[in-house]
Symmetry: C2
Subunit: 256 residues, 2 copies
């Protein structure tokens, strides 16, 4: 059994995985922030990505259920509050902010919430993430959240690029991201502390790398699916949202 | 509650779903059997599709575990024998026949079995199928197998088209399909009888339609992912098999 790596070396390896596999390297992300996407591509991205956003607090509840320590659960609970909103005074949470974005892009809230228009590949990727945090060790479940180490940068690119290039994007509809940057920093620091403490052997650390690779794959696969269907000329699977259906059609099928 | 449809009407509706959503309608299938795929596209298809083949007997074991009736379980067990092979005299089964195909296309068996080169989207779609048969009703689990109503036709197109157009495809490497045609006929007739008997209400029948739609989505999504990565110029996600890696590289990473 090899000796456990020091915290700085461990972190360096984790960052190297992000540098190779995080979805800021994906050509579709680059299209988005450099302003070459059509409005329908941005719509498809926001609509599909909601499917992933929607499972995040569910994922966090599953992880929280597996944390034995009260302090750990309390810390993790913040993530759920961030997405679902406060119970009393501040019902605003990440999911509502995301719905503000899809709404500004022309989708009815009920249609987005129904997820009828989502690409099956995006649904399966989101489910794979839930399955992972249920079935793997708690260490791996926490490590899979470490993509948040890299998210402040991708968010900064998205926000400044999209505001600069698209007249249909305003600061109002990007409030989701302005909150996420500081939340992600806080969460990834906590998760790094946790896995550094709980990874006892080199093998444990390697399981953390695999967990981070898995999660990078999930995010990457969603952009692959969106790019395939809405940019590269692949199929839009039967039932998924199609740009040549007017948004009114989307509204009708939401109420059907 | 509406009245249950007659068997012929029920079957007509199921066939209409196949006509719209079964993957014989997918452009990548049409590329395959009309001979315009490159050998690397066929390789990617065979390699990725193995991931799906591999979960089929697992799926069948999960369904069998939920069938209460001895006769039903015995009938369903045939499916597992078809894929895993007989215990004693005839170890040849569908999975081995599929490995003969990937082998003839240049992949080492260990590399294929490891599934290291598989597209994450294909892995997630296969997992989604397992999840479906575990979590939905037995009726829906059985109904999701009904894509086999349509498979004899797609198999006939594949076999004759691929033999005609590709000099790297021989009859030997397509034995998987010659067995599947009669197996699929037997299985889909059994499954139709089962769901006709066990769908008591119109609502039950509608759940069967949804199950068949779900399964069509799984198959369609796999072709979307393969076409995106290997034909349409999308990304090949980090870690997935890349044609410009020689097959020797695939062999090396299999033994690494």
């Amino acid at each position: 059994m090899s000796e456990k790596l020091s915290r700085p070396d461990f972190e360096t390896r984790l960052r190297a995985i992000g540098a190779e596999r995080y979805h800021d390297q994906h050509p579709f992300h680059q299209r988005m922030y450099t302003g070459v996407c059509t409005i329908d591509e941005i719509r498809a991205w926001a609509l599909n990505r909601f499917c992933y956003q929607r499972i995040i607090p569910v994922k966090d509840a599953l992880v929280m259920a597996r944390l034995d320590d009260i302090e750990d659960r309390r810390a993790w609970r913040e993530r759920i509050v961030d997405h679902d909103g406060e119970i009393d005074d501040h019902p605003e949470g990440g999911l509502r902010r995301w719905l503000a974005l899809t709404s500004q892009l022309g989708f009815e809230k009920d249609y987005v919430m129904s997820m009828h228009g989502v690409l099956p590949a995006v649904r399966y990727a989101s489910q794979a993430y839930l399955k992972f945090v249920q079935e793997r060790s708690v260490l791996e479940a926490v490590a899979s959240s470490l993509t948040e180490m890299f998210s402040p940068q991708i968010i900064a690119q998205r926000v400044s690029g999209m505001l600069k290039h698209y007249d249909f994007i305003t600061e109002d509809c990007l409030t989701y991201f302005s909150y996420r940057k500081s939340q992600a920093n806080r969460d990834s620091l906590w998760a790094l502390d946790y896995i550094d403490k709980h990874a006892v052997t080199r093998e444990d650390q390697e399981r953390c790398y695999d967990a981070l690779r898995f999660k990078c794959d999930v995010l990457w696969t969603m952009l692959d699916a969106i790019a395939g269907a809405y940019h590269l000329g692949g199929t839009i699977p039967p039932g998924a949202w199609a740009p040549d259906h007017t948004l009114q059609v989307a509204k009708r099928s939401a109420s059907a």
